[in-house]
Symmetry: C2
Subunit: 403 residues, 2 copies
């Protein structure tokens, strides 16, 4: 079983049984493959008698997205496992515990989070997550600060940049987020009803200019080790608990890319809630909560990052320079707003969509949600470099809602 091959159920069980001390020696393990088969095999292995269980995630040597298939490096399993372990050190309790990583099999054995559900599904169902902003802002402040030049030895950081060079998965982002939506690409996918809006994106030079700047920062700005794909489908949640999963897109990039992903996916849910919550008052309340969650996410991130900087900052000059941290965080905010916009736009006209909007069965409701998401997303992109407070997100949403 040493060379790489996709595991069978039986092989997965055998590996679990070989993990000394995890399951009782005589456990009768059951195993289900619960992955979607697009990128990874995911085995859920459990022992009914003891109630113990774990997850095995094995990378497949290809990616399937919306029917297409292309080869994909197994090295992403190493990146995912190493990033997960690091996140567990920097933000304990906010990621699954990694029990074992097997580089040959591209296999990560980790904590079972079956008590949680994917946050995107929870939000679609109208679930409230009152602790989410606190949790995710801690996760981002800790993982971003302590992997940046401000929070770690700057020579060690350079080696870590090398450890997380991730060309193949970055290319997916570069193409699907920062290129295809802004041109008539065969990778795009959108409802024919909004073709006019898609074409408007292709012909908007001022928008391309802003996206070009965001794209360049994504390509060059090695601020911190990002999760790289921090949408609500990469988060397991309950109202009490938040667990960030799937960091296979990890690489050194601009902090705002992670923060923007969180903001964008809350806003995509906001746009979709025109359908999912039918009661007007309830819907308005839920949407307001989404907007205040966004503000809390940013404010939480900012205040926690400031506290870490004060207590653990390693860089003498930038720490001593008056006003520098304000300036720095101001630009992280702007990046977050810009990347949030880019991530909304691509979910409407690009290759990969989100259930919050795509699964709306009614054509007119879905189109309204799509147009609202595009209106918000493009405006976030247009105004990102002028933004001076997170309040601009609210302003943009209210304006888009009223137009």
């Amino acid at each position: 079983m040493s060379a790489y091959h996709p595991l069978t159920i039986e092989e997965a069980i055998a590996i679990a049984q070989g993990m000394d001390g995890f399951f009782p020696v005589d456990a009768n393990l059951s195993c289900r493959e619960i992955g979607d088969g697009n990128l990874n095999l995911v085995f859920h292995i459990s022992d009914n008698a003891s109630g113990k269980s774990l997850i095995m995630k094995q990378a497949l040597p290809y990616a399937k997205v919306v029917g297409e298939s292309w080869p994909l490096t197994l090295d992403r399993a190493r990146i995912e496992s190493e990033k997960l372990i690091l996140e567990g050190e920097l933000a304990p309790g906010l990621v699954p515990v990694v029990y074992r990583y097997d580089p040959v099999l591209a296999l990560t054995v980790m904590e079972d989070l079956s008590s949680h559900i994917i946050m995107r599904q929870g939000l679609i169902a109208g679930t409230r997550y009152p602790l989410f902003a606190d949790h995710i802002s801690t996760f981002m402040a800790n993982t971003l600060f302590f992997t940046s030049d401000f929070g770690m030895n700057q020579q060690q950081k350079k080696l870590r940049v090398g450890q997380f060079i991730n060309p193949e998965l970055c290319k997916i982002t570069e193409d699907l987020i920062f290129d295809d939506p802004y041109t008539d690409s065969p990778n795009n996918s959108f409802d024919p009803a909004i073709r006019d809006a898609a074409e408007a994106l292709w012909n908007d030079g001022a928008l391309h200019f802003e996206v070009a700047i965001l794209r360049e920062k994504f390509l060059t700005n090695a601020q911190a080790l990002l999760h790289g794909d921090l949408h609500t489908g990469s988060i397991f949640a309950t109202p009490e608990s938040t667990k960030v999963i799937d960091p296979e897109f990890a690489f050194y990039g601009p902090m705002g890319f992670d923060i923007g992903a969180v903001i964008a996916n809350l806003l995509l849910n906001y746009a979709g809630q025109g359908h999912w919550i039918q009661d007007g008052n309830e819907r308005a309340e839920f949407r307001n909560e989404l907007l205040s969650t966004i503000i809390d996410v940013w404010n939480g991130f900012e205040s926690k990052f400031r506290a870490l900087w004060e207590q653990h900052g390693t860089d003498r000059l930038t720490k001593a320079a008056p006003g520098y941290l304000d300036y720095y965080l101001g630009r992280v905010l702007q990046d977050s707003i810009g990347y949030a916009g880019a991530k909304m736009v691509r979910r409407i006209v690009g290759l990969a969509h989100v259930a919050d909007i795509d699964r709306i069965p009614d054509d007119a409701s879905r189109e309204r949600a799509q147009r609202l998401a595009l209106a918000i997303g493009t405006e976030l992109i247009r105004r990102n470099r002028q933004a001076s407070s997170i309040g601009v997100v609210n302003d943009i949403v209210i304006t888009a809602n009223n137009s």
Copy 2:
């Protein structure tokens, strides 16, 4: 001779004799060690009969700067050799040809440039280099463009970032250029006569703010593969020929760091010329030529970079976005001006100085040159983010000269 050890003269000759076809079989080779012994051994090996010669450069496992010694990775020889070979491909004729690289011995065998002299010495002697601006702007436009995301495959570029991660030599820059001069560091070295000016640097919060921004870009902004130490002591020149040497500081960083190094060192010579050229008219003419060389260096870089972008640009979105290249080059200009300032300041108050100024024997003349260089350097730093044309350098120099 397989394990690393510093070569003797005899061993260097033996290696040269073993290079098939370079020297005649029966050549009677002579060899001199011509390095300064601070970082490398440099052997000049020649055959009088055939007139052929070459240079062998071997990295030493330590660095000595102004009497201090610290251990230093031999990996810098790999970086230097790989960067030199790449530069030879991208800017042929503007770097020495590499004949061989031996990773175990940390040894690079390369073209002998004894017909050239170190440009800094030439400038001190009042030599004019009418082709220099054209040559160095070609070198920078080609090496920077074709290693950036605009001029090469963006996934290959990420691998190249990894190939040129250079923590130890970057740390020298981070400390000596972006930290020590702005605090009372034991690494600093300056004439007691200008202690007031050094202390002013330590207490100038607005200056620290700008240096902090420049420092952060140096740490995070992987725009292109830089030479990393592009001062006039890293350039062999004749009035007809320019050869860039010693790229052991190579790493992925902001383009303006290389361009700024060239500008700074022309300006340091400018400041020193108050002493070296005694005749007032001649001095004024030479100084004007230095200033117009700076303008030609920037303009040459900009126009060549634009031409490469048009002909060889690989990035669809940034190429299609109206006004993006103007915006991008505007920021490269600002960075160049800021880094030029930082590189001037450190040569006056930091650890490593330049002969253009340090070797002025007369105390009063030397102090005048030092104060002029500091006045120009600090103003370049202060105004970098407002600069909209290379003409600002002229303005700053004229103002500093008149005050």
